[in-house]
Amino acid sequence: MEEFKTLIVILMSSVLVNNYVLNRFLGICPFLGVSKKINQAVGMGVSVTLVMLVATLATWPINEFVLERFGLEYLQTIVFILIIASLVQILEIVLKKFSPSLHQGLGVYLPLITTNCAVLGVCINNINDGYTFLQSVVSSLGCGLGFLLAMILFSGIRSRIDETEVPVFFRGVAITLIAASFISLAFMGFAGIVDNLFA
């Protein structure tokens, strides 16, 4: 039961409190670039969640049973980025073969995820925080869902920005960042939620 409570706390804190995009600034590029329409935002969010989960499933055991056992922790960065890059490629090939419809929906987003810092970030953070395998998986799921949530919320705001008259020099990235800051401000309201979850 204690274990289950811990998992819920990890999930809630990674979705709401420590939201990767809005609080830890990981994965800002796709957040600003692909959030223009809601269907694109959902496609990107789902792909990132999927890749985060698969990447954690692969990197955690490799770190535990290969890198730490042989004292190779300093190779972590190289090994992880290579694993993520090849996983993304494999995932794309598998999806193309077995689920063409899903591939049509997500396929275009997958290659862009290789250089997404949120995926590498979640793998490294799971190790640094000393999570067990199950906790790592839950935390990656939470981070992915948090990313998806932020993308969906933000795509709604951006469609409103499109309809307004923005001062010339603020057009494009500047106004987008300022709008993102307001969502981030709203998410700060969740700050205390996890501490009192089971109080």
């Binding site: 990981l26 590029c29 190289i78 275009v108 810092c117 590498l120 500047a174 106004i175 300022i178």
Partner: protein, 228 residues
């Protein structure tokens, strides 16, 4: 200044094509490490070191690396240098290592480095690539320090960790929190756009070229073209 002279290449990165404020690359470290000037400067120098080394090696190998597997090759080269920098920082500046945490490892996925490899180092000589790395790195460091100065002085009433007592009652903590960083960054981008009106290259000229995803990008995923 002549378009291909070394000086032009160097200053291009610092001013005209500043990676942070004009090209809008490397947004994640820009927002995450600018809560104080010390961290921002450290991040800038670490990125500068990786950028120069990776640009030089990639430029040296540009005729050897086959075109179809160049992105993975670049990533391995960059990851190698990031590991070197990580170990150096850990050994000599442990305080900085603690402060930057995961973001030091994440230099490997910084779009500036992969973008310059793809955009510049893979087409130019070693000397020019090194200069380009130096210019871009200095531009990155300066922009980070500028953002960090605003955020730290206004938000924490200190500069590089040294408290400024007379500002203490006026500090607005919002600016060192996550949303404050976005506001300051957005305002600076708008300011640079205002100051360089007509002089700076239009964003659409290079946003796609500089994008690390360019080689596999199908235009439908990315709306850079429509956005500018």
């Amino acid at each position: 200044m002549k378009k291909n002279s070394s000086l032009y290449v160097l200053f291009n990165g610092i001013l005209r094509e500043n990676p942070v404020l004009v090209l809008i690359l490397g947004t994640c470290p820009t927002l995450a490490t600018t809560t104080n000037v010390f961290g921002a400067f450290g991040m800038g120098v670490a990125t500068l070191a990786v950028l120069i080394c990776s640009n030089m090696i990639i430029s040296l190998l540009r005729k050897i690396i086959p075109d179809s597997v160049r992105i993975p090759c670049y990533i391995v080269i960059i990851a190698g240098f990031v590991t070197v920098v990580q170990m150096l920082v850990h050994a000599f500046v442990p305080a900085l290592y603690e402060m930057l945490g995961v973001y030091l490892a994440l230099i490997v996925v910084n779009c500036i480095i992969l973008g310059r490899a793809e955009m510049f180092a893979s087409k130019n000589s070693v000397g020019k690539s090194a200069l380009d790395g130096l210019g871009m790195g200095i531009g990155f460091t300066l922009a980070l320090c500028a953002i960090a100065t605003i955020r730290e002085v206004v938000g924490a009433a200190s500069f590089a960790g040294i408290a400024i007592p007379f500002l203490e009652p006026l500090k607005i903590e919002f600016f060192v929190k996550a949303p404050g960083g976005m506001v300051v960054y957005g305002l600076l981008i708008a300011l640079v756009g205002r100051l360089t009106k007509g002089k700076s290259p239009k964003k659409k000229d290079f946003t796609c070229v500089g994008c690390p995803g360019m080689s596999f990008c199908t235009k439908s995923t990315c709306n850079v073209k429509k956005e500018v």
